[in-house]
Symmetry: C2
Subunit: 598 residues, 2 copies
């Protein structure tokens, strides 16, 4: 009862009209193969695959979930998942953006991100298996030795194996400095990995023959805290340096979690009992290597949010157009029918427009961030690379946290449009809400993203990333300054950018006197930043639509949605600014004993 | 893994110190039995029952859910539910607030509301069975003929039977004018009820021998729309006018819904196949009678929100104090431990304080609303009754919608404090979030409550209820005007009240020119009103705490939380005001074809 149609028209609009993807790719070494024709062909095939293969397995996958066999330690994914993965591999999707040297097609990450949105919208639980492989690919690509890439990366790129990220332990999640898993060197050059990891997505499953775990652990002589963490490759089945697959390694799944959602995705407790692992990258530099994966994964989780927003919107709009209930306050719209469709009601429209503003604005935001990955990876211009890197560092927590928070809000609104039916499993809206709920947690909670944005990415860098983004806004506003059609957006955007800068400086000043200011301001600053960022993409989208070949209706819808966004959503910055300016005192004053007043 | 301790201290504080319950009850006929001693004794017994009997069944009830036997049409509630209901009945809880004439104890509804909070916090799914009985009690009390009360009300009060509200049909929920169920008069004075009702909470279960359905249906000659709806009593087992229970009536459960949450609560499709029903109240005036139930139920659902907020808070605080993760930004708080507890972090505190502000402020708000029910039901002073009735009419949608919306937010924050563990079923936090999700839908969605508040209860009445509440604020601010200790709250509260009035007048003016203004402003106005209302209760709570015998720590916690509320939550009104002032244009402009841009 819950459908998915890939939003090809708007993805193409975002890529071609808003981001100028063809020209952007052409400006990068090896990027010219990704011309408009190829981009559109890939998108169309991706739409077919996700609509026809993945989407039909979404509700059944949720109902069935993964099952764990205690005796064998094996996990069975829901019916159809394995066949869908084979389909994915056969279609060449596994290696879409991976290096050609290891069997990939090396197409832009921007295009990969567009595909990912469709996968996640179609079936979030399934999408986690390729997501983790993508992260492992990045870590191996950037930190693996040549033989490691040949032996471990190639099978992942070919879709024969998948990857995982093994970070969390029972006593440590956000605070990785506490981790205890040990890695003891052996004479054969491997390490014996000993410890327990939890919440390991795709830690065990039946989609592929082997699984490549990337595991954070401590060497015997490692310094304490985060400076003593190394990264290891620990395959489920042992793999020799020549690629020969051997016996079962001493890593096994101890159980799978019973979760609120993403039931199709296995979340495993993994026991490493002296499992053979290969060090990847430098000793004690594992966290840096892991961040390569994590940044990729953070963008990817942001895109999960985007996919959920779009699917929620689609279904809520369909229901709101179909369901007759009540009369328009301005007079009956369909007097020949017993009632008007829900979509005539202003408040239903408020909820749908909120979803639409997040979906389409969020799409431009996410694809722009992905395009920075392409610049960083491909450009030979050091200055351009650096600029992209600084900007992406700044935008990553916004993409991750805001798109996922907005997915919580959007799935809330979309479910609400269904009334009581939204709460019933068969309509599929409650699954979207349950699935969305993990996205603000994994790969770093919203609170962690917010500290990253305000602390590491803004205050510690003297706002370099923010300056780059403000530069984009100023450039845009300057370009459009004479464009009367855009005045209604340009003026408030310029004002919002100025206020954002002002607020950031203010927080920076206050932080010098009190480190707690950062923690107290962080999440509100994150949302504030997200809303201004989205305002930029909405203004830009209207400008792009006006210059495009899109239909008048499409152009008008962009303008209408941008107006809605600027007038009804952007003012949320007012509350966030007030909360930020209230400082840490009201948060820190209360005694911890006094939180529960009953 | 998810615990519940009834917040007795704060409930007592709200009743005795904030609301002056003893004096209030004593001022009402028959209310003097509910003295402080009795109130406290009832609360303590209620705490024991809910903590020891209901709370342990919450997670198991969720896991097991209700089961439906297709052949018999019977519903089995989760293990322990039936015994808990027997316990409830044996304890005399079923008739706590019911009329003495029918076997009840006729204690104040305010006390009943305090008990209800504990029930809902302990086990929301279970709590729906008594909730519906309470609604049926109200309808029978106010609209039933004497024999109907004797025959149907008494067994409900005694807990031998339960009640339901049968409103929704497959094609109509919010818009009851569309309902089709028919009632054809029979020679014996009964009516043959024919039709299908959906989403019937407690429509079928195994807790009691009989179930009394209150069913909206149309008489043959009824006018169309809401003016042609009558209310009927349709028992599961037929009941003669002398109370003799006969054969099975032609009403059966066709299936139960698979829902996001409240799995312990049966949600039934009910088929009426010529079932014998008795008309209750006047023909074609059924909606008015149903509103008696619905208003009761709306307050009750608001209290469900309150219960969930408090339980979420309790568990999140316990986890945040226990779980070591990261270091305080202001320097290590527990340097001897590997990390500080989560509760040192400003952002964790922001989330917990938000829950606390909603829980404790919401408790005063809800109990005050319940106290108005007592005034309306008991007072012999016509002026006082009228005032209470007008004020309660205004506050009911705020209690219902704001407390439930805040329960969505609070369960979000509380789950988030658990990080990944929040997403895992065994911790019980995700159940709270799933259970909360229905509360903004049933008994009228937030959108419906908002239209009720702004349209029916404010604009149509020239703001009479708002004036009464503003009067309370003005009175309080005047009383406290010389109280230096309270100045930090009194000034912003007075300002907020003034702004609220101003905004309301503004909306009223705009509405005269455009009916759509109401729909466009409604939900934002609801939240705006809720935040100002809560500000009043927080200021009042600080004043009450200062004058109470509570410990210095308790008084300080009230002040600290009020400061947090005023500085970090109340400014949300800024965004809502901006959204309201943007008017309906941005909502109505977009073509319905254009909502999906993909």
């Amino acid at each position: 009862m819950n459908n998915y149609t890939a939003p090809l028209r708007d993805i193409r609009f975002a890529l071609h009209d808003v981001l100028g993807a063809e020209a952007l790719f052409a400006s990068l070494p090896g990027g010219d193969v990704a011309n408009r024709e190829l981009i559109d062909a890939v998108l169309e095939e991706g739409a077919k695959f996700t609509e026809q293969v993945l989407a039909p397995l979404n509700q059944s996958g949720d109902r069935e979930g993964c099952t764990f066999d205690k005796d064998s330690g094996e996990v069975r994914t829901p019916a159809g998942f394995k066949a869908a993965f084979a389909h994915y591999v056969d279609g060449g999707w596994a290696g879409l953006t991976a290096p050609e040297a290891y069997g990939g097609q090396h197409l832009p990450e921007t295009l990969g991100a567009a595909l990912k949105e469709m996968i996640d919208a179609a079936n979030l639980g399934w999408g986690n298996y390729p997501l983790l492989s993508h992260g492992a690919t990045e870590a191996l690509k950037h930190h693996g030795e040549e033989w490691q890439r040949e032996v471990f990366l190639r099978p992942i790129v070919e879709g024969r194996w998948t990857g995982t990220m093994c970070l969390t332990e029972p006593h440590c999640g956000s605070d990785l400095g506490l981790l205890k898993t040990r890695a003891v060197p052996r004479d054969d050059g491997t390490h014996a990995i000993e410890g327990t990891k939890i919440f390991i997505t795709a830690g065990e499953h039946d989609l592929t023959d082997n699984i490549v775990h990337l595991v954070l652990a401590r060497l015997p002589d490692a310094p304490p805290g985060t400076k003593g963490i190394s990264l290891f490759i620990v395959p489920k089945f042992k793999v020799a340096r020549d690629g020969a697959v051997g016996e079962r390694n001493a890593v096994r799944c101890g159980s799978i979690e019973h979760k609120m959602g993403i039931h199709g995705s296995s979340t495993c407790v993994m026991h490493f009992d002296g499992a053979a692992g290969y060090l990847i990258g430098q000793p004690n530099r594992g966290l840096a290597a892991m961040f390569t994966m994590m940044n990729t994964a953070r963008l990817a989780v942001g895109i999960q949010g985007l996919g959920l927003i779009d699917r929620a919107l689609q279904n809520a709009v369909a229901y709101a157009r179909d369901r007759l209930q009540g009369r328009s306050l301005g007079g009956a719209k369909q007097p020949d029918k017993p009632a008007d469709p829900l979509i005539v009601h202003a408040d239903i429209r408020r909820m749908l427009l909120t979803c639409k503003a997040f979906a389409e604005g969020g799409r431009a935001l996410a694809l722009h961030a992905a395009s920075l990955v392409d610049v960083i990876e491909r450009s030979t211009d050091a200055e351009r690379k650096k600029h992209a890197d600084e900007l992406l560092s700044f935008l990553t927590p916004i993409v991750k946290a805001c798109l996922t928070e907005w997915s919580i809000e959007a799935t809330y609104h979309a479910l609400q449009c269904f009334g009581g039916h939204g709460y019933i499993a068969e309509w599929g809206m409650e699954q979207l809400a349950r699935d969305a709920r993990i996205t603000t947690i994994y790969e770093g909670t919203t609170g962690i993203q917010a500290l990253d944005l305000l602390g590491r990415k803004t205050i510690q860098t003297q706002g370099v990333g923010l300056k780059h983004f403000l530069g984009m806004i100023v450039e845009f506003c300057t370009q459009e300054t004479m464009n009367a059609e855009l005045a209604e957006f340009v003026a408030p955007l310029a004002k919002a950018a100025q206020d954002w800068q002002q607020l950031t400086l203010e927080i920076g000043r206050r932080t010098m006197g009190d480190a707690e200011e950062v923690g107290a301001a962080a999440v509100d600053y994150l949302f504030y930043s997200g809303y201004v960022t989205l305002a930029f993409w909405w203004a830009k989208s209207v400008a792009a639509a006006d210059r495009s070949n899109a239909s008048a209706a499409f152009r008008q819808a962009k303008r209408d949605t941008a107006r809605f966004y600027f007038q009804r959503i952007l003012p949320r910055t007012l509350s966030h600014a007030a909360a930020i300016r209230s400082g840490p005192a009201t948060l820190l004053a209360i005694d911890e004993e006094a939180f529960v007043g009953g």
